[in-house]
Symmetry: C2
Subunit: 588 residues, 2 copies
């Protein structure tokens, strides 16, 4: 199976320096800032204190999990695992790291400790994980990390950083996909508003994983093999003032069989003629149409004759000729891009005259449901009157500050949009910009650990655990079940008691038609021990996994919580430990 | 002046490969993912269409600005300029970039265009900018970018990406600083919740620039020379179960003169004795104090005897011994960390017995105003009863989901916190996760361009502009004034008419005591032409700049908008162009 190329020192590759690298090393390269020092200082001060107190040989188990699904939803897509594995593969403190740490730690920190760090490897770490691209739920460990206490502790911050945002954006993308439906194209346009350069790259990558069809981000396309899309901005349109700005007028006519160019003809003239004709047909005044815009459309069509998409709302036609600049815009929907629509249709029909097929328009403002319907009306009218049937199906892209709720509301209004370009709300996850994964100690030297809290949400489930997903006979997931490691796994066709981890009275017998163990071993003895799926495989997995989750868990409004349970044995174990660990207080 | 080292291929530096690099090249290195392909595809399709329509020699001016201050505030800190200059310095399409572009652009895109791209440089670009770390306001160009149309267009997305998040986080940090006041230490703890690895690094860097005192992010410390802070996590505490886990018991006693170690003694025994004594003093039952926690504190103190800070809320003492796990927590404030407080005080007093001075505690849950006051009470009591005066001043760090409003509310409640550790709300800018900087064409081939919109906020101010800040005699900024390039600058002591750009009746005469031109030339003829300030200089600039802004513009609740105006001449120019460009519509 292919390993997706994470981002890599491309220039170094070009310079030929890693000629002798092993194929694995190349596959495992990633952004250099993902390195052991990309962590919180307290991981290193703890490491020293552990080391100093003779806990070098202590072993520990940590669970990485989140407590609440994002976006007021009831599911999460797990992503970022591959990056964690690459981080393990490349984990090593460099000489300059050690030099820096010597500077910032107190002078009495022993030299021997720095030697220990320099030689530290992740050879003895074992990583169990749920496969990337899975649908996951609160409290269930996404990672179970086992090994020397000091080493597994040192992995915490970087793992959290790599998983939190990746999973958040993949979940956000999957939610947009569900809102838009399968038919609609979704493009990620968020690079300019993302949280830093890598915020942008990660967004493009994990939005694609979560169900988007492409990105505008060229580097993401290059590094992750994601389809890249884009046409032009308002500036392109504004850069033309009149038709005189067009320095070439001729375009090759395409053969009807679609193969050979047969001659060149004056394309500009055709566009102008077609505009005169269409103005009447569409009921738009010729003086409403801006000539600079027409020139821009023509030039773009001549550069990309079979890829012509036009941004049509650069010149807003105000509804009231005497309107002064100080008047605020009128809120009832109106076709404010009459100039762009007429100019686009003129160039699109002219392209058709020359044997090409344009793609469509992009709307970046206004009432998108209303405007997309008016554009579709115009396209249908032209399709019929000029007998160009495909004209009715021209694509309408919308890209103005779209979020999940906008799409759901547009659906109710029967929009005619074929594609959404989504930026800020997708990449910054404006509705909830952080997922709160945590990394908790659940076992030390084979002794279970529990973290108590007055806030039940913060109580941890102790010990090394196995996780199963139980499916009903209709193929839908019924419940996730955590067991103490080593308990016999639940069996298909056998009744199993599933308990709420904290509420004594909440329990149910479940008779699964199928049982799926969720945790798999991904890293052991210094090696990755699973094939890492390609991006396409991950995308497919997300959609397939979502298909196994009942609709009511996935809906936007008041979704039903999916149940996460513990076995009877784990329940007793947990509550026994709880009482052992809770000091007896006094009423004050 | 020093150039701050942006993040750099450190391992390459270590391997010695850039031995022959010029000093400037080393200073100008930055994260490799900041490269020409970190852009939207439409910049490249536009480049081709411009090129194809013979616009290679067209020149253009773009303004980069935002339309609205973030966080419901009325000011913004401008940051990210140095990264933009480094991006220019390193701008060049690599062979593999060209190969990739050939794959994704249509096959008929001419070979000559790719040669043009390969040879494209930013030599002819001129960049004017407001200095980094300045307080800035809506509509005022932060950058004015001049040069060949194709080239300046190609810079758009990367510039926006580099400035939007940097400025957002610097502004957020400055707001936290104002809320907390000067006395309080502010630490950035957000790496684990940041939007990707670089989201974390950028957050650490620009939070420091905006007024924070340090970060937990070690790599940020290493790369940007930011102070790094941290102690330990709950896991550290949980990893000890009993006092028997302590493998060493002896600690060197520090000489009273604070210089030489005089002997080693049993530190554990002293801690236990002190705990017995303090339990009575603090009114905490001995059985409420967890022995594993005491062991953890002791071990940490032995590793960092003069840097002892303890996380005290790992073992919450419930107020009701019979409370069952299913009971929800009680909302009235209570001292739930009695175990941690007693154990901390025992170890801290024992450290004092051994000649060391501990630092303090960290609180990560609960009612922080109440709890900090109870901790301070305990410290004062011990200071008095045991005659250790500095004990009353031990530091209290709070770090549980803090935002700007939390701090303002804690201020009202007279908290006793000395330091806030701030994560998610700071680094993801949860209140508003994106700044909406835009990049607009304002002039082409020396002709002004205006973008009209029904939405006044979206109308651009055309032409090449100079910007001035006018100050009153008390040193506070009165107003920003945009003029047509070449208009005589306003003079101190001379009355100048400042007009609202759109509202005819809003205008005022301003008599400035001082006039400051805001735009400076940063890049010309392929070189950076300003010294780039160090991080410390930028930090200082932010605080100094904030000092020039009136308090009512900066307050959290209902701040007064700062005025941004145009000269009379620019006003007329703008409105003449507006009428020329607005097509006469029809009422429909």
């Amino acid at each position: 199976m292919a390993v997706t190329e994470d981002f890599v020192n491309l220039r170094m590759l070009e310079n030929g320096s890693p000629v002798n690298m092993e194929a694995t090393e190349v596959k495992m390269r990633q952004n250099e800032i993902i390195q052991p020092l990309l962590t919180d200082l307290y991981q290193l001060t703890m490491a020293y204190a552990y080391w100093k107190s003779g806990k070098v040989d202590d072993t520990a188990v940590f669970d990485l999990f989140f407590r609440k699904n994002p976006f007021s939803g009831e599911f999460t897509i797990f992503a970022g695992l591959e990056q964690c594995i690459k981080f393990l593969f490349n984990f090593r403190y460099s000489d300059s790291d050690i030099t820096y740490l010597k500077q910032i730690l107190p002078p009495y920190v022993e030299e021997e400790f720095f030697r220990y760090l320099k030689n530290l490897t992740v050879e003895d770490v074992t990583l169990f994980a749920i496969p990337e691209g899975s649908v996951v739920f609160p409290r269930v460990p996404l990672l179970r990390v086992e090994g020397p206490l000091i080493v597994v502790q040192l992995l915490e911050t970087t793992f959290l950083n790599l998983i939190n945002y990746s999973s958040l954006i993949a979940t956000n993308a999957a939610r947009f996909r569900m809102a838009a439906g399968k038919r609609i194209k979704l493009l990620e346009f968020g690079l300019r508003r993302a949280q830093g350069p890598d915020g942008g790259l990660s967004a493009s990558k994990y939005a694609y994983l979560g169900g988007f069809d492409g990105t505008s981000n060229v580097l993401a396309g290059k590094l992750f093999h994601i389809p890249v899309k884009g046409t032009h901005a308002h500036a392109y349109i504004s850069s033309f003032s009149t038709l005189a700005d067009l320095k070439t007028r001729d375009l090759a006519v395409y053969d009807e069989n679609g193969s050979d160019l047969i001659e060149s003809r004056d394309f500009v003239e055709t566009c102008i003629k077609r505009r005169d004709q269409l103005a009447t047909l569409l009921g738009i005044l010729l003086q409403e149409a801006n000539d600079g815009e027409l020139a821009a459309f023509i030039s773009y069509a001549m550069a990309f004759p079979d890829g012509f998409t036009a941004l049509v709302d650069t010149y807003e036609v105000l509804s009231w000729s005497g309107e002064t600049p100080s008047q605020r815009y009128i809120s009832e929907p109106r076709l404010h891009y009459r100039s762009g629509l007429l100019n686009f249709c003129a160039v699109a029909v002219a392209l058709s005259d020359f044997g090409y097929r344009p793609i469509g328009i992009r709307l970046d403002s206004g009432d998108l449901a209303y405007l997309s319907n008016r554009a579709r009306d115009a396209f249908r009218k032209i399709a019929e009157e000029l007998t160009i049937p495909w004209f009715a199906q021209l694509s309408i892209v919308a890209s103005n500050d779209i979020n999940e709720e906008t799409i759901l509301s547009l659906n109710d209004q029967h929009h005619q949009i074929d594609c959404f370009g989504i930026g800020t709300h997708l990449v910054t996850c404006q509705k909830q910009p952080a997922l709160g994964c945590v990394y908790k100690l659940v076992e030390i030297n084979k002794q279970p650990k529990i973290k108590l809290s007055e806030d039940l949400e913060k109580v941890t489930i102790p010990g090394r655990k196995d996780i199963y997903r139980l499916y009903g006979s209709d193929g839908h997931a019924l419940i996730d079940l955590m067991q103490k490691h080593g308990e016999p796994p639940p069996l298909a066709g056998n009744r199993v008691l599933c308990r709420h981890p904290f509420l004594e009275s909440k329990r149910a017998y479940v008779n699964p038609a199928r049982v799926e163990p969720l945790l798999h071993i991904y890293w052991q003895n210094g090696r990755c021990c699973q094939p890492l799926p390609s991006m396409e495989q991950l995308r497919h997995r997300v959609q397939h996994q979502l298909g196994t989750i009942r609709q009511d868990h996935k809906r936007n409004l008041n979704p039903t919580p999916y149940k996460v349970s513990v076995s009877d044995s784990l329940y007793s174990y947990l509550h026994k430990l709880w009482l052992q660990n809770a000091p007896i207080g006094e009423l004050s």
